[in-house]
């Protein structure tokens, strides 16, 4: 009888000790609590992902720079000026291509967007049947998301600072006025580009309900070079290391 009670007491003690230990262990990180919305937490995770992506890219660029230095050293060690000029020209061509200063050719899609020709329904707003800048911006944005490599609108190459404005009958692209309709040509994976335009729920299909919208896959699309100036009035190159 007495030994049984002793046993119980011992078990009780051990279990109690274990319980206290466990709860202090697990209770540690909960000490202080903050009120944080799910969105704030999400945003923080996005920032972390974004930073990781940025690091990954910088790593690639570092690799690239190292390789360039090695190549350059090898070439200049031999004093091979011809080779240096050749590789310099190749690089120059890449940058010209990247800045949209080279006319290009390739497979892709052709899109025509025009104001609708049908009559207005009763009570319908006339604006519904007209093409607005934002419609074209969204289509252009969708094409770029689908990996378009070069885009022209009404024969004008779309580059980094190309604005598209639409007022009444005229459309202004790269500061040049052209007339309705919008003809957009994009070079890229034709399947992906076409899919981005015509997939269910896409901006293209939504647009099609109101205005004229056509998308066709075409081969050997030609897109001209951007012929704007290469000089800038306001921006200058930051000398390396000057920032922060």
């Amino acid at each position: 009888m007495k030994s049984l009670k002793k046993g119980t007491a011992a078990v009780l003690l051990v279990a109690l000790a274990a319980g206290i230990m466990l709860s202090t262990q697990m209770g540690m990180p909960t000490g202080e609590k903050l009120y944080v919305s799910a969105k704030a937490l999400d945003d923080m995770k996005v920032l972390i992902d974004s930073e990781k992506e940025s690091i990954r890219r910088t790593e690639l660029q570092i690799e690239d720079a190292k390789k360039q230095i090695d190549d350059f050293e090898a070439l200049s060690a031999d004093d091979n000026t011809e080779e240096l000029i050749a590789s310099g020209k190749a690089e120059l061509n890449y940058y010209r291509m990247a800045s949209g200063r080279v006319p290009v050719k390739g497979d892709g899609v052709k899109i025509v967007i025009a104001d609708s020709e049908r009559d207005l329904f009763e009570g319908e707003n006339v604006n519904d049947l007209l093409v607005h800048d934002i419609d074209v911006l969204m289509i252009l944005n969708d094409l770029l998301t689908a990996g378009a490599e070069a885009v022209s609108i009404n024969g004008h190459r779309v580059v980094d600072m190309s604005a598209i404005t639409c007022s009444g009958y005229t459309i202004r692209i790269n500061g040049i006025f052209t007339a309705n309709p919008f003809v957009i040509r994009a070079i890229g994976d034709p399947g992906r580009l076409y899919g981005a335009m015509m997939a269910p729920g896409s901006n293209g299909l939504i647009l099609k309900e109101f205005v004229r919208f056509e998308c066709t896959v075409e081969e050997d699309i030609e897109i001209p070079a951007y012929t704007g100036p290469l000089s800038y009035k306001y921006m200058t190159i930051t000398k390396e290391g000057e920032t922060n």
């Binding site: 078990v11 466990l22 903050l34 604005a163």
Partner: protein, 253 residues
């Protein structure tokens, strides 16, 4: 009966311990839903972010040093050879035009923030992200006002830049972004600000219902805009120069 006394006792204790454990675990794990979150968890995120930012910074520094070295080497070589110098000078011009160089100049900095959440429902909803066409419009207006370089949250706007809603995120240059959005533009500050703040213009639209975005516009003398950190890929587009030599030459005049 007394034989079972110990067993009952152990049973009760096990029950209590089980309860304690489960309560603790649920308070730790349930935190990702938002609401009351252990501050340690938030701090861990913040620390990770800080660590990554520092890493990013030091890498960028390393990259700048490498590129400096290459540039010096090139300049040394170019000093010896005139035709090489010409190529390198041209190369710099086009590199700048392709957005592959960090630039600075006068301009404006626009900060866009989601409206203060009013209730539990609206705090999970980002007016800015789900209406990313506002960003597209804003950028288009800035270009129209003659901006020479634009960036959003450190992503340079180049010819291939997309602003796309991918799931719950807005990707810019394929990099996920989150509000607040900081849009920087280099150009004539008066024109830039004037163009976006006209009556019924894009800023007024952003500020009004149903978006209620908080907007702050500041003019700066030295807006710094980073270079495009991605790469240009041309897998489908091939140079088509034969018939365009003339056009190209005229562009260089």
């Amino acid at each position: 009966m007394k034989k079972f006394g110990g067993l009952i006792m152990i049973g009760i204790l096990a029950l209590i311990i089980g309860l304690i454990i489960s309560v603790q675990i649920s308070t730790i794990q349930g935190s990702d839903q938002g609401g009351l979150v252990p501050s340690v968890k938030v701090k861990a995120y913040e620390q990770e972010l800080q660590k990554l930012r520092a890493q990013n910074e030091s890498q960028t520094q390393q990259l700048i040093e490498l590129e400096d070295r290459l540039e010096n080497m090139m300049n040394d070589k170019a000093a010896e050879d005139e035709s090489l110098k010409q190529i390198y000078d041209e190369r710099e011009k086009y590199k700048l035009a392709a957005g592959l160089v960090e630039v600075k100049g006068p301009g404006i900095v626009i900060t866009l923030e989601d409206p203060e959440p009013e209730d539990k429902y609206s705090e999970t909803y980002s007016s800015l992200m789900y209406n990313y066409e506002l960003l597209l419009s804003l950028v288009n207006r800035l270009k129209d006002a003659g901006a020479e370089a634009i960036s959003i949250n450190g992503e340079r706007i180049v010819s291939s830049t997309e602003i796309s809603l991918a799931g719950d995120n807005v990707n810019i240059n394929t990099r996920p972004t989150a509000p607040p959005y900081v849009v920087k533009a280099i150009g004539d500050p008066d024109t830039l600000e004037g163009t976006i703040t006209i009556r019924f213009g894009i800023i007024e639209k952003m500020k009004s219902d149903p978006y209620n975005i908080r907007v702050d516009i500041a003019r700066r003398d030295d807006v710094v805009i980073p270079r495009y950190s991605g790469t240009y890929n041309f897998r489908y587009a091939k140079p088509n120069e034969e018939n365009a030599e003339g056009a190209d030459a005229s562009a260089e005049d």
